[in-house]
């Protein structure tokens, strides 16, 4: 009986199907926990899924390459998902036109602040070169940041984790921080949340108001695109390339 089970495991652990199913099932479980905990920020479904999958891989002694053979089918969808961000941006194009000039100026300032503050503080705290490069796209949406990290010579998987932590901290601090600096304009609140903390922040902004949610969505798409354009230039300018 035990031998039969072990044989089955040896067979399954090597098929892409098992790790594909495990990834989706763990994610569903994480979403369930998150909803049960009233959207408590630290129980963010991506963070919980990543931790649970890693724990499972470590316990079962499964190499990442074996895992990725199954998970690559999910990973592949990041490409078309990135392209599909054009759709919500287009849906908000009327709001975008209304405030185009102030929005674009703010976007450049916000995007530069996001990159330079992270690299600056990280450098002061003595982080390694490859870690600093991986920090560049941390405010961009994961769909974009993982590709950017690869392009500029960072560690895409480290960037993925940094992006998640950025999103969670942004979503957690948004309400308190924006009240503290007395920003009441929903447009500005939403846009700032999206630029600083991408999709995870946007989920929070949607709870604040529809307008904050819409501008947070715009902020995440525009900052993602601008980060993809700025990061390779800045890596060169800062002499990290």
């Amino acid at each position: 009986m035990t031998d039969g089970l072990r044989g089955l495991w040896v067979y399954l652990a090597d098929t892409p199907l098992l790790w594909l199913v495990v990834t989706i099932a763990i994610y569903e479980l994480a979403v369930f926990l998150y909803q049960r905990a009233n959207l408590f920020a630290l129980l963010n479904p991506v963070l919980v899924s990543v931790i649970l999958v890693i724990a499972l891989l470590l316990v079962t002694n499964t190499p990442y390459d074996t895992y990725f053979e199954g998970a690559q089918f999910i990973h592949f969808l990041l490409g078309p998902a990135t392209v599909s961000l054009a759709v919500p941006a287009y849906e908000h194009v009327a709001q975008l036109r209304r405030v185009l000039v102030p929005l674009l100026i703010t976007l450049v300032v916000g995007s530069l602040t996001g990159i330079l503050s992270a690299v600056g503080i990280g450098w002061l705290l003595g982080l390694s070169r490859v870690t600093l490069i991986s920090l560049f796209p941390k405010s961009a949406t994961m769909a974009i940041s993982v590709g950017v990290s690869e392009t500029i010579g960072g560690l895409p998987s480290l960037t993925a984790v940094l992006v998640i932590i950025t999103g969670i901290s942004g979503a957690t601090m948004a309400g308190v921080l924006l009240n503290l600096i007395r920003i009441r304009d929903e447009t500005a609140r939403g846009f700032a949340i999206g630029v600083a903390s991408h999709g995870i922040g946007t989920t929070r902004a949607l709870h604040l108001s529809d307008e904050a949610g819409a501008f947070s969505g715009l902020g995440l798409v525009l900052n993602g695109v601008l980060t993809a354009l700025l990061a390779p230039l800045l890596v060169g300018l800062l002499g990290l390339g």
Binding site: I105, T106, I183
Partner: protein, 121 residues
């Protein structure tokens, strides 16, 4: 739905081709995003099949981050060494970015708003 997914994949492919041909240091899907956005602006409307496909994609977007995130398993030693510095950096940088963006945008919104609207607000 399938047509919508085909459109997304075709624009991604177009983005990849442009990136390779021009040697751009930008991920192909980002160029695909810009191409699709431009195409929608030129068309002036959003086809229902594309809307459905995009909605389906974006509804599972968060799941798509998991495989990349799990990749950190290869660099756990890097995290072990510098997780405090990393967390401090990320929290501080996120706060600074959000505050600067919010302050600059609300200032500029006031400057650029036509004078007639100022009282109404």
């Amino acid at each position: 739905m399938l047509t919508g997914i085909l459109v997304l994949l075709v624009f991604q492919l177009g983005g990849e081709v442009i990136v390779r041909l021009l040697g751009l240091p930008v991920p192909g899907p980002v160029v695909g995003l810009l191409l699709l956005f431009g195409a929608l602006l030129a068309r002036g409307s959003l086809p229902a099949f594309l809307h459905r496909a995009a909605r389906a994609m974006l509804s599972i977007l968060v799941l798509l981050f998991v495989p990349a995130g799990v990749g950190i398993i290869a660099h756990l030693n890097l995290l072990q060494e510098s997780w405090v510095a990393l967390i401090v950096t990320l929290i501080a940088s996120t706060a600074i970015t959000m505050a600067v963006t919010a302050v600059v945008f609300s200032m500029l919104l006031r400057w650029f708003r036509p004078s007639g609207e100022q009282e109404a607000q």
